[in-house]
Amino acid sequence: MEVSAPDTSRQEQPSEATKPTRRVSLGRAADFAIVLTVAGLFIALSVTSGAFLTSANLLNLLNQWAPITFMALGGTLVLIAGGFDLSIGSIYAMSGVIAVVVTNHTTAPIGMIAGALTGAALGLGNGLLVSVLRMNVFVATIGMSIVLSGLALVITSGAVIVTSNLNFELFGTTTFLGVQLAIWVMIVAIAVCALVLNQMPVGRYIRAIGGNIEAARLSGVRTELVRTLTFVASGLGGGIAGVVVASDAVSANANAFSGAQYSVWTALLIGGNSMYGGEGAIWRTLIGVAMLALIGNGFDLLNVNPLYQEIVTGGILLLAVAVDMRIRHRRSS
C-alpha cells in the first residue's frame, strides 16, 4: 500500500526495512549453502583422498572442466537475458567436427579458428531466429539443435573423424607456467564475461532485458541486438569448447554433445542463476561448475559407482531449482 503522509512514512520505514531483509535471507541462505557445500566437498575430498589435493589432480580437474565452463559462461549471459540455449551441445559438437575437417583440408590454426567461428555463427543464427523472427527461445534453439545434430552426422558419416596434423594437438600438449593452455583461456574467458556483465553497459542491458524486456526496450535498450549478442556469446563458448576438446582428443565426434549439455545446464542452475532471467552472476556459474567437478572427481577418487553420480547431481539440480522457485514465490507474495 501507499505511504502518503510524511509522518506515517517515518513510522513505516523500520517495518518496511525489516521485510526485505527477511525476504532476501532465504536467498542469502541458499547462496551460503551452495558455497558451503562446495567448500565442504573440497575439504572432505582433501581429507578422504590423498590423491585429491595435489596440483596435478587439481590442474587436471580444471583442464577437464574448462570446456563446460566456456559453454556455461556464454549460457550465463543468455540465461540472465531471459533466454535459454538448448542448442549449446550440438553447437559444441558441430564446432569440433568443423575444426577437424577444416584442419584436414588446410592448417591447424585455420581449423581451430573456423571451429570457434562456427560456434559464434550458429549462435548468431539462434539470435536471429529469436530476435528477428521472434521465435520462442526453446523452439528456436531446439530446432537448431536437431538440425545441427543431423548435419554433424552427415559430415562425419556417423564416425569419429581424426586428424593427423600434429599442430592441432595444441590444447593437449601446451602448458604455460605449468598450467594447461585451456585453463589460461578459461581464465581469460571468465575475466571477459565478468567485465562485460558487471562493468559494461551491455551487461546492464542484459540484466534489464531479463528483468523486463518491454521496459528495457522503452528505456532505449536495443533489445534484439543485445539478445542476439548473448546467443553469439553462447555459440562462441560452444565453439571454443568444441575446438579445445577436439584438440585434446585429436578427433571429433558428432555425438559428443549429449553429456556435455546437461552438465552446462546443471551448472547454470545449481549455482543459483534464475531460470527466469534478470538475475544471475558469473560466480554462480563457476560455483555450479565447481560443484559438478568436485562431485565427479570425488566419485572417481573414492571409487564409487559412477551411476550414483548422476543421481546425486540430478538431485542437487532439483533442489537448487526448488529453492529458486521458493525464493521467487516468497518475493512475489
Partner: protein
C-alpha cells in the same frame, strides 16, 4: 450521465430457487464486515472498517487510489485475509481463507483483471469446476440448457461456443458473472468493472447489474466513476487512507460531496497553482501531422510548445496510448509525420526517439516502466548508460551520484538507491519511472497515466514535478483518464475519440465539454474553433 433501465418486473428468480421477494424482504442474506484491519509490508491498507451489505442491493465503495477499496473487496471475497476483525454471513461468523471458500459462502469476485481460461469456450468457463457430470462424463446438453436458461434470465447475449479469448472485455465480465451465478453466489464483488469498457458497454453492464439486483443479487461495487456510482448504488461507503469515512444512501449524495470526503479537502487544492500564461508565442518543440496507424488511430495532428503542458483526455481505447507509443517509436505508424524542433523526426525505435530527446513514461510502470527486479539506481540509469560510461566501463560513482541527485529531485522515499525498486510504494515507483528520464533532460516528456495507482501524497509531488519540468522548458504531453487531473494541470487539452482527435480545448475548458468530445458528441461542442 448513464441511464439505468427499469428492471423487468416479470424476471424469474434463479438464486437458489428462492424468489427475490423473499430474499430481499426478510433480509436473511446479508454480509457484515466488523472492524477489519489489514496491513501490507508495514503500510496500513485498512484500519477498523465496518460495513454491511444485503442481497438485492448495490453497495458502492469509493475512495482515492490506495484508500483500501480493493483490499476491502478482496477481503470480502476471500482473496485476502484480514489481520484483525470479523465477517458475518447471515449473522454467522465466517472466515474465508481463499476465493473458493468465499464462493461456497455465496460471495464471488469479479476483478479488474479477468480470471477466465482464455482458450476455453464460454460454456466451459461458466461451468469450470462445477461441471454437470454423470458417470464421469460431462453432460454438455444439461450444461447448455442451464446456460440458455441463465442467459435468458440475465438478458446476456453470449455465444456459449465462442472462445473466451475472442470476446470483448465486457462479454468476458458477463461470463464471470454467469460463473458466479452458476455457483449460487448471492453477492458479487465487482472491482472497477467499467474501467476497461467503452461507454456503451459500461451502460449495458450497469443495466445488467440493476437487473440482477432486482432478481435478488447483491453487489459490492468498487468504482472510480462517481456518477456511475450515484446512478447505480443504493448505499455509498467512502474510504480514505484505509479508514471508513462515511456510509450513506446514494440518493442523498452528490459528486462534489463525495470527492471532498474522499480527499479530505475540495478537489481543486490537489493541484499546484495553474500558470496563467499563453503559449501561443512559445517555440513549437514537437509537431505531429496526420499521424495514422490503420485501425488504431487516424489523422492525428497537434503541436507541443516549449514549457507547455498539454493534457490528452479520452476514453480507454480511444487511441491515446497508441499515439504516444507511435511518436516514441515503440509502435509503427502507417502515415503522417513528426517534427522535432522543426526537423523531421522519423523514429523507428524507442532507442532513436530517446536519442532525439523524446521520453515516454508508459502507462503501466510494472510491465513497461520499470525493471522490478532491478535497483532504484539501475532503473534511473538505464536510459542514460552512455552518460555513466567512460572507456566502455560503467562508472559506478557517476551512476550513484546521478541516482541520488534524481531521487532527491523527484522525492523518492527510499533507504538507499541500491534497494530493489519493487520494495518501494507505488507512488515512489512512479517517481522513479519519471525520474529515469531526467538524468539527461529530454525535450519532450510524454507521460501516460502518470498517477495511476499512486497515493494522494505522491500524486501532488508528481503534479508539481510535471509543472516544474514544463517551467524548465520541456514540452509535456500528459495522457490521463482522470479528468480532474487534465483540467487541473493542462494548459491545453486534446480529446481523443475512437482514434481521432475529437477536440482541442483550452486548459480552462469545463468538464462537460471534455466529456462531450470524449464520448463523440461533437454537436455539443460550443465553439469548433477552440
Amino acid at each position: 450521465m448513464i441511464g439505468l433501465s427499469q428492471p423487468a418486473p416479470t424476471a424469474r428468480p434463479y438464486l437458489n430457487g428462492e424468489s427475490p421477494a423473499e430474499v430481499v424482504a426478510d433480509g436473511s442474506r446479508h454480509l457484515e464486515v466488523q472492524h477489519v484491519s489489514k496491513s501490507y509490508a508495514g503500510a496500513q491498507a485498512l484500519r477498523d472498517v465496518s460495513l454491511k451489505v444485503a442481497a438485492g442491493a448495490v453497495h458502492a465503495l469509493v475512495g482515492e487510489n490506495g484508500a483500501g477499496k480493493s483490499t476491502l473487496g478482496k477481503i470480502i471475497a476471500g482473496a485476502v485475509q484480514p489481520d484483525q476483525g470479523a465477517m458475518l454471513v447471515n449473522g454467522r461468523p465466517v472466515s474465508f481463507r481463499n476465493p473458493r471458500e468465499a464462493l461456497a459462502g455465496g460471495v464471488a469476485l469479479v476483478r479488474q483483471e479477468i480470471t477466465l481460461v482464455p482458450s476455453l469456450s464460454v460454456l466451459d468457463n461458466v461451468f469450470l469446476g462445477t461441471e454437470h457430470v454423470s458417470g464421469g462424463i460431462v453432460r454438455l446438453r444439461s450444461q447448455r440448457s442451464r446456460f440458455w436458461t441463465l442467459a435468458e434470465e440475465t438478458g446476456f447475449e453470449l455465444d456459449p461456443t465462442a472462445k473466451v479469448s475472442m470476446l470483448r472485455v465486457g462479454d468476458q465480465q458477463k461470463v464471470e458473472i454467469l460463473r458466479a451465478i452458476v455457483r449460487d453466489a448471492w453477492l458479487i464483488v465487482m472491482d472497477e468493472p467499467t474501467a476497461a469498457l467503452d461507454d456503451n458497454e459500461s451502460a449495458r453492464l450497469i443495466e445488467f447489474v440493476g437487473h440482477l439486483r432486482a432478481n435478488g443479487m447483491g453487489f459490492i461495487y468498487i468504482s472510480h466513476d462517481l456518477e456511475e456510482v450515484l446512478t447505480l448504488a443504493d448505499d455509498v461507503t467512502v474510504l480514505k487512507d484505509g479508514a471508513h469515512v462515511s456510509t450513506s444512501p446514494a440518493a442523498g449524495e452528490a459528486v462534489d460531496g463525495l470527492v471532498t470526503k474522499m480527499l479530505g479537502r475540495p478537489l481543486r487544492s490537489m493541484f499546484p497553482q495553474k500558470r496563467q500564461r499563453s503559449f501561443d508565442n512559445a517555440r513549437v518543440i514537437l509537431k505531429v501531422e496526420g499521424l495514422t496507424r490503420a485501425g488504431v488511430f487516424e489523422d492525428v495532428s497537434f503541436a507541443l510548445r516549449a514549457g507547455e503542458i498539454v493534457g490528452m483526455a479520452g476514453l480507454v481505447g480511444s487511441g491515446r496510448t497508441e499515439v504516444a507509443r507511435a511518436i516514441f517509436g515503440a509502435d509503427p505508424c502507417d502515415a503522417g509525420s513528426v517534427e522535432l524542433n522543426g526537423t523531421p523526426c522519423r523514429v523507428r525505435s524507442p532507442h532513436q526517439a530517446i536519442r532525439r530527446g523524446i521520453a515516454l513514461v508508459p502507462e503501466s510502470r510494472k510491465d513497461q516502466g520499470l525493471i522490478m527486479v532491478g535497483s532504484v539506481a539501475d532503473n534511473l540509469a538505464l536510459p542514460s548508460m552512455r552518460e555513466m560510461t567512460a572507456w566502455g566501463i560503467v562508472q559506478r560513482r557517476r551512476q550513484r551520484e546521478a541516482a541520488n541527485r534524481i531521487a532527491e529531485a523527484v522525492d523518492v522515499r527510499m533507504e538507499s538507491a541500491d534497494m530493489p525498486v519493487s520494495l518501494l510504494s507505488g507512488g515512489n515507483q512512479q517517481k522513479v519511472a519519471i525520474g529515469k528520464w531526467l538524468v539527461r533532460t529530454p525535450l519532450v516528456l510524454i507521460a501516460d497515466e502518470p498517477t495511476r495507482g499512486v497515493d494522494v501524497g505522491a500524486r501532488l509531488t508528481i503534479y508539481e514535478l510535471i509543472q516544474r519540468l514544463a517551467e524548465e522548458g520541456l514540452a509535456v504531453l500528459m495522457i490521463s483518464s482522470e479528468l480532474e487531473e487534465v483540467m487541473g494541470l493542462a494548459d491545453r487539452i486534446l480529446v481523443m475519440h475512437q482514434g481521432r482527435l475529437a477536440a482541442e480545448l483550452p486548459g480552462h475548458a469545463d468538464e462537460s465539454h471534455i466529456l462531450s468530445a470524449a464520448f463523440g458528441r461533437q454537436h455539443l461542442l460550443p465553439d469548433a474553433d477552440l
